[in-house]
């Protein structure tokens, strides 16, 4: 089995190599088959693991990555329940998106097509490494690897400078987080001498509380980068510059959930640091609300989805912060389904609209893109949290935990839920209802996507509907939540102390609010009207001016500092100092020449004077 496990990441890697090196020589079909096939096989192996139950918390050791003195970092995988779950999500959703891509990217040139698939495969490889690693270093390798792939894919259309800027931004913001991650790892090494999960979690007790708080906060900094939380979230909406399947896979379903995975994985540490947990919860809730408000006013179909993703990720952090690790993981899973679905659906729309992304120029697509519409609707319902769609269960678990933890956070969660329902349906209505607002050419072109795109949509839609049943809460089933039970060896499930009646009340409240929001959206956006500009609306449309804020507070000062350092400190300071010594010597040479007046009398006088000085020194000063 170990060899098979090794194959899981290795296959996409091989796919990456073949597609990458052979992109000029292979046909598009072959590239697609290799790209999808490798991920499919990985998925199958993951399924085998899952069904065989061949997971355990004992790491599988392959070789020593680094061994120097006391520093030992094995290259090892840990295939336990948590990683198995993620394996399934990554390879499963990943496979679907690969399939989808073969069609979506079909118009690309062959070598770029190959490049695309090689990046995608590399991403899957990195992501698998991230979740399979048995220590933080391997996780970090995957962590940065996915960041790289994200960078490469966002900048996939490299001729466009804006896209490249977005790619750079994504990578750099991720890097800021990565620094936190790295420092946490060093901290672990400094205190425990190891970064292996098993050893770290077994020795949490040996860490002082300040150590734990430090480590967990730093890890969380890493998570805010990768999972787009305040203050490092701004890269994610920009990342929509990449091809839509990439947004679906990387910026919705998998990569951005790495932060959640990491914290869930480190639950032993976080549970020991209540302070950090509170921070995580507050940041999560704040992000959820902030992103949701921004999403209200966005007109780019992918931007809305992107902010929605940020908001949902905020939910997950809220869950993590309140100790509901399972709920967070659960939401990761359901979110992967419906958000991938929504993105792919939007891709289908964009595909149909020949690349148009602005929803103000869409409308009335309901009848023309039937499959897309229905699947998109399912996705919207799921994300809005209407029972019994998957989003309901996972979101409810989170809200429940928040309620238990802190009423204020719960309130924010609730508001966010309402906003979520509202903006998602706003999107749906504007896009699919009303009259067609595109130009004539687009009107002719509009058509339903081919099967390679619609089949994944349908599959994902199915999972969006039924995906929630793995985590039906105790209220409805006997024997508790299946998912929690499954994960319990790795992730402790939160114990609820809430009356079942209260729980049901809360559920109804959530659902009710969501439905009201949907109705408001229905009334407002059923037929498209130009939105009126209000001051607040403008703030929202401009994303609370956070990008501008960062620009003024961080980018520009640093750039300015660089300019000052370069133009003044370096050239007029240090360099001038060094050159000044040289100039001083030359100047001294020029001045000292005047001593050499050419007149014997002066020479002799100087000689006599110095003799005099020497005599005085010798006979009077020295004694």
């Amino acid at each position: 089995m170990n060899k098979l496990i090794a194959l899981i990441p290795l296959l996409p890697f091989i796919g990456f190599l073949i597609n990458g090196l052979g992109r000029k020589y292979l046909s598009k079909g072959l590239i697609g088959i290799i790209g999808c096939g490798t991920v499919l096989v990985s998925f199958i192996i993951s399924l085998m693991i899952f069904f065989n139950g061949s997971y355990s918390t004992t790491p599988i050791h392959y070789f020593n990555f680094i061994q120097a003195g006391t520093l030992k970092i094995p290259f090892a995988f840990q295939i336990d329940q948590l990683s198995t779950l993620f394996l399934l999500i990554i390879t499963g959703v990943g496979f679907l998106i690969h399939v989808y891509s073969t069609s979506y990217m079909h118009e690309e040139k062959r070598e770029h097509f190959g490049r695309y698939f090689s990046y995608l495969n590399l991403f899957v490889f990195s992501m698998l490494l991230l979740v399979m690693g048995a220590n933080y270093v391997i996780m970090f390798i995957g962590w940065e690897g996915v960041g790289l792939c994200s960078y490469l894919l966002i900048g996939y259309w490299f001729k466009n400078t804006n896209y490249n800027n977005a790619a750079n931004k994504a990578f750099i913001m991720n890097r800021i987080g990565d620094l936190g991650f790295l420092l946490a790892v060093f901290w672990l090494f400094a205190k425990l001498g190891t970064a292996n999960y098993t050893e770290v979690f077994a020795n949490v007790g040996k860490l002082s509380s300040s150590d734990i708080i430090g480590i967990t906060i730093l890890l969380f900094v890493g998570a805010t980068g990768k999972s787009a939380q305040i203050p490092l979230y701004t890269w994610l909406p920009d990342a929509m510059a990449g091809p839509t399947p990439v947004s679906a896979l990387i910026h919705a379903a998998t990569m951005v959930t790495a932060g959640i995975y990491m914290i869930a994985r480190s639950n032993a540490l976080y549970s020991a640091a209540p302070l950090t947990q509170n921070i995580v919860a507050i940041i999560g809730a704040a992000t959820a609300l902030l992103a949701a408000t921004i999403a209200l006013k966005q007109n780019d179909i992918k931007k809305v989805l992107a902010y929605s993703t940020v908001s949902q990720l905020g939910y997950m952090f809220l869950a993590l912060g309140t100790g509901a690790y399972v709920a967070a993981v659960f939401h990761v899973m359901t979110h992967a389904f419906f958000k991938a679905l929504l993105f792919l659906g939007s891709g289908s729309v964009i595909h149909a609209m020949s690349g148009e992304q602005d929803i103000r120029f869409m409308g009335g697509l309901k009848n023309k893109l039937k499959i897309t519409y229905w699947t998109f609707l399912i996705g919207c319902i799921a994300i809005a949290g209407i029972p019994p769609f998957s989003g309901f269960f996972s979101k409810d678990a989170i809200l429940l935990s928040a309620f238990e933890h802190n009423k204020f956070l719960y309130a924010i969660g609730l508001i966010t839920a309402a906003l979520t329902a509202f903006y998602m349906f706003r999107l749906l209505f504007i896009t699919f209802y009303g009259g067609f607002r595109g130009d004539e050419e687009q009107r002719h072109h509009v058509h339903e996507s081919p099967a390679a795109m619609t089949v994944p949509l349908v599959i994902l839609a199915v999972f969006s509907i039924i995906g929630g049943f793995v985590g039906v809460p105790e209220v409805f089933t006997h024997g508790g939540e299946k998912l929690a039970a499954f994960l319990s060896p790795v992730v402790p499930s939160a114990t609820h102390h809430i009356e079942h009646s209260t729980e049901i009340l809360l559920m109804s409240l959530t659902t009710g609010i969501a439905i009201i929001a949907i109705l408001i959206a229905w009334m407002r956006y059923r037929t498209y009207k130009e939105e009126k500009y209000t001051a607040f609306g403008k703030v929202l449309e401009n994303k609370w001016y956070v990008d501008e804020l960062y620009d003024t507070l961080v980018s520009k000062p640093i750039n300015k500092l660089g300019g000052i350092a370069n133009n003044y400190f370096e050239k007029l300071g240090i360099d001038a100092l060094v050159n000044g010594v040289g100039k001083l010597v030359t100047y001294g040479g020029r001045q000292l020449r005047w001593l050499q007046s050419g007149l014997v009398g002066n020479y002799l006088l100087l000689m006599v004077l110095s003799m005099l000085l020497f005599f005085v020194l010798e006979f009077f000063l020295k004694r």
Binding site: R593, W594, Q596, S597, G598, L599, V600, G601, L604, V608
Partner: protein, 109 residues
């Protein structure tokens, strides 16, 4: 007589020579001042030679004669130097019709 009077006298002559060298511009006079310096040295040597002779005459009847011989050698060298020096001065005068020591200052800095 106290030896220090001789020392003072010689030093005084020597310094007068130096001052002459410093203050004059006539090459020949400068040269003469240098000769005066040498003579001051000679005087000093002779007086020292006498001093050592008196101190050591019991051991060696010829003690201190080396000082006087040194004076002899100084005179020899001075003579040689004068011949060369005057030759140079004459050469300079032939070329520039001046014996001002500051006249020639092409070489400087």
């Amino acid at each position: 007589m106290d030896i220090k009077y001789y020392i003072f006298l010689s030093i005084a002559l020597f310094v007068i020579g130096i001052v002459g060298v410093l203050t004059r511009r006539n090459t020949i006079i400068i040269f003469m001042c240098i000769e005066l310096m040498l003579n001051a040295v000679n005087l000093l040597l002779v007086s020292f030679s006498k001093m050592h002779h008196i101190a050591n005459v019991a051991k060696d009847p010829l003690a201190g004669s080396d000082g006087q011989l040194f004076v002899f050698f100084i005179m020899v060298v001075a003579a040689a130097e004068v011949s060369v020096g005057l030759a140079i001065i004459v050469m300079m005068f032939r070329n520039t019709h001046s014996i001002d020591v500051n006249f020639l200052n092409r070489l400087k800095h």
